[in-house]
């Protein structure tokens, strides 16, 4: 337990990471508690269009008279949900494939390396656009598209970690003891490779949120779900007269992604004390 305590102390000593944690906690709270405390239809019309912020409605109303604050609240839910689910899928797939390739090597390793190399050449965002456009925009397809374009870097990372670990003495000792492969992988290698996976995974959530917002800005979002990118896209035609309709959701994206990046970097420093100062 001492290790865990020093981990939290190190994380909390990092002021930027603490700031990130606070902002992230606010956004997560808004996404989870908001719709429970204040249930509303984010697409519902509540008043006259183009009401300015800080009037009758906290953030005003949009081009059709929808409440912007409610939209931000439900948009937080969408962004975080898609970001986390897509990342979890990408991390699981990347870890399974990368781990197997790094541990067993051989033909599996060679083909995985080729696949990840090819993925480096394919323009990821355009690929995501094509997937969602062809399969029709729905939450499920958006998540699938983001997961499909984000697993290869994770697979590369895990492969490298497993490959290096495979040659270490403690793993060789396990092999010598006749331990089954699965047990070596799950009990001995994976725990040692966990910190880079966690750090990269947290940064992947931030990236997934950015990709989701770009997709929904282009009109590739589930029509029944409110999202920040959609709100910016909807406010774009009135940029000249009501620029805040675009500005507000953008600030929400910026703060959320920034806070996740700060926490991710904090995790990196706390989990790899050897790297501090570089």
């Amino acid at each position: 337990m001492a290790g865990r305590q020093t981990f939290f102390r190190r994380l909390l000593r990092n002021r930027a990471a603490v700031l990130g944690l606070v902002v992230l906690a606010l956004v997560v709270g808004l996404a989870i508690v908001g719709p429970i405390v204040h249930p509303a239809d984010p697409f519902g019309l509540v008043g006259r269009p183009f009401l300015q912020p800080f009037g009758r409605f906290l953030l005003g109303t949009d081009i059709l008279g929808r409440d912007v604050a409610i939209g931000i609240m439900y948009g937080a839910r969408t962004s975080l949900m898609i970001g986390v689910v897509a990342t979890v899928i990408a991390v699981v797939v990347g870890t399974l494939l990368g781990g197997a390739a790094g541990y067993f090597g051989g033909a599996l390793d060679r083909s995985l390396t080729r696949v990840t190399e090819i993925f480096q050449t394919i323009p990821a965002f355009i690929f995501a656009i094509v997937i969602v456009a062809v399969l029709s925009p729905s939450i499920r397809n958006v998540i699938a598209a983001i997961a499909i374009v984000s697993w290869p870097p994770m697979a590369r990372l895990v492969r490298g970690e497993f490959l290096a670990m495979r040659k270490r003495e403690f793993v060789q000792a396990c092999v010598g003891l006749g331990m089954p492969d699965m047990r070596i992988i799950v009990r001995h290698i994976l725990p040692n490779a966990l910190s880079p996976i966690i750090v990269t995974g947290s940064l992947m959530v931030a990236n997934a949120i950015l990709v989701e917002s770009s997709l929904s800005f282009l009109g590739l979002s589930d029509p029944n779900v409110m999202s920040w990118g959609f709100m910016i896209g909807a406010g774009r035609p009135v940029l000249r007269t009501a620029w805040w309709l675009c500005a507000i959701p953008g600030v929400a994206i910026l703060l959320t992604v920034l806070s996740i990046n700060l926490v991710g970097e904090g995790l990196n420093d706390a989990l790899n004390p050897r790297l501090r100062g570089t």
Binding site: R114, E117, I118, Q120, T121, I122, P123, A124, F125, I126, F127, I129, V130, I131, A133, V134, L135, S136, A206, L210, S213, S214, F217, L218, G219, L220, G229, I232, R236, L239, R240, W243, C246, A247, G250, I253, L254, L255, V257, L258, N261, L262, T278
Partner: protein, 338 residues
């Protein structure tokens, strides 16, 4: 001994052929992905290939089914599809009433202009800012660059573009909001170049922001890594000034990771240009992709996807050549480990 010019040329040619051979699997995978997506799409594959649903005539649909062998087994269909793509027959867009290939070729120029400008600005300025930050670690300049980098990592490109339009076009009225040139002005010669330049400022700035920050941070780290090397100590012992060391000695070695990343990120640059071109109405491949989304012209979209991937392959070859010029120890085609 210096290799002869002819020898060098032969080596380059051999390299280009080898590199092309290695690019073929990549292109093949993309053709396979495109083919898979055409068949995964809801409805008949002919609907997807015809582009905008309902716009094609029944005769054309029949012709498409025949041309792509849609009544044949899947393997035959794949071969036919691959044959068409590799002969750059990308189909026909009913929405635009033009062949897809022609549409893409027309829009390629503006995208290359935008991407080229962005690459030059972000790599050039990124290197300069990174050198500045590395020369004065933990100074206010260094901290400002770090904070700006953090913020720009978290800013959605399309939103940054919209906010720049609000400030520089709408509020200040300095720069145009959209398009590539003022067509109604009928500018010619230098006036036209200047006009396009004015239209280019905001899109290029938007697309550069993220990469500029990224390359500045990378350059800073790379400069600091080099600064501990023996050859720097030697240069200092010779009595060179710090700026002589930085410009003549460290720069050339420290710039290698930046060039590598610039090559890797060309694909992501193309992705970014979709949203940036859409925001600024820049008439390139990105806004063509957006228009095809809007019109559900899926075949056109798949064509753009294919061409983008080919573009990345070509740029990567160019980057390899630049790499071998910067660091003559690295032979063409042996950059795998870097």
């Amino acid at each position: 001994m210096k290799p002869s010019f002819l020898g060098l040329l032969a080596a380059s040619l051999g390299y280009a052929v080898g590199r092309l051979a290695r690019a073929i699997p990549t292109i093949a995978v993309i053709v396979l992905l495109n083919f898979g997506l055409v068949h995964l799409a809801p409805g008949d594959a002919a609907d997807v290939l015809a582009g905008e649903a309902g716009a094609a005539t029944p005769e054309y649909m029949q012709q498409l089914r025949h041309k792509f062998g849609l009544d044949q087994p899947l393997a035959v269909q794949l071969l036919v599809y691959a044959k068409n793509i590799f002969s750059f027959d990308l189909g026909y867009s009913f929405r635009h009433d033009r062949p897809v290939r022609q549409l893409i070729l027309e829009r390629l120029g503006p995208t290359l202009l935008l991407m080229g400008t962005t690459l030059v600005v972000s790599v050039g300025l990124g290197i300069l800012l990174g050198m500045l930050a590395a020369r004065r670690v933990n100074s206010w300049q260094d901290n400002v660059i770090s904070v700006v980098a953090l913020v720009s990592y978290a800013t959605p490109l399309f939103w940054a573009g919209l906010m720049l339009i609000v400030v520089f076009s709408i509020k200040l009225g300095w720069l145009p909001t959209s398009g590539m040139e003022d067509v109604a002005a009928f500018n010619e010669g230098w006036a036209r170049v200047l006009d396009i330049g004015r239209h280019l400022v905001l899109p290029a700035l938007t697309l550069s922001l993220f990469y500029l920050a990224f390359y500045a941070r990378l350059m800073r780290a790379s400069m600091l890594e080099q600064s501990g090397m023996d050859y720097i100590t030697t240069a200092r012992a010779k009595g060179l000034t710090e700026s002589q060391i930085a410009w003549r000695h460290t720069l050339r070695n420290a710039v290698l990771p930046v060039v590598t990343m610039a090559g890797i990120q060309v694909g992501s640059l193309l992705g970014g240009s979709v949203v940036v071109e859409t925001v600024f109405g820049w008439p390139g491949l990105g806004s063509l992709a957006f228009e095809s989304l809007f019109a559900r012209d899926l075949n056109l979209l798949l064509g753009i996807f294919f061409i983008s991937a080919c573009l990345v392959v070509v740029v990567n070859m160019v980057v390899d050549v630049i790499y071998s010029i910067l660091d003559p120890r690295i032979e063409l085609g042996s950059r795998e480990a870097a």
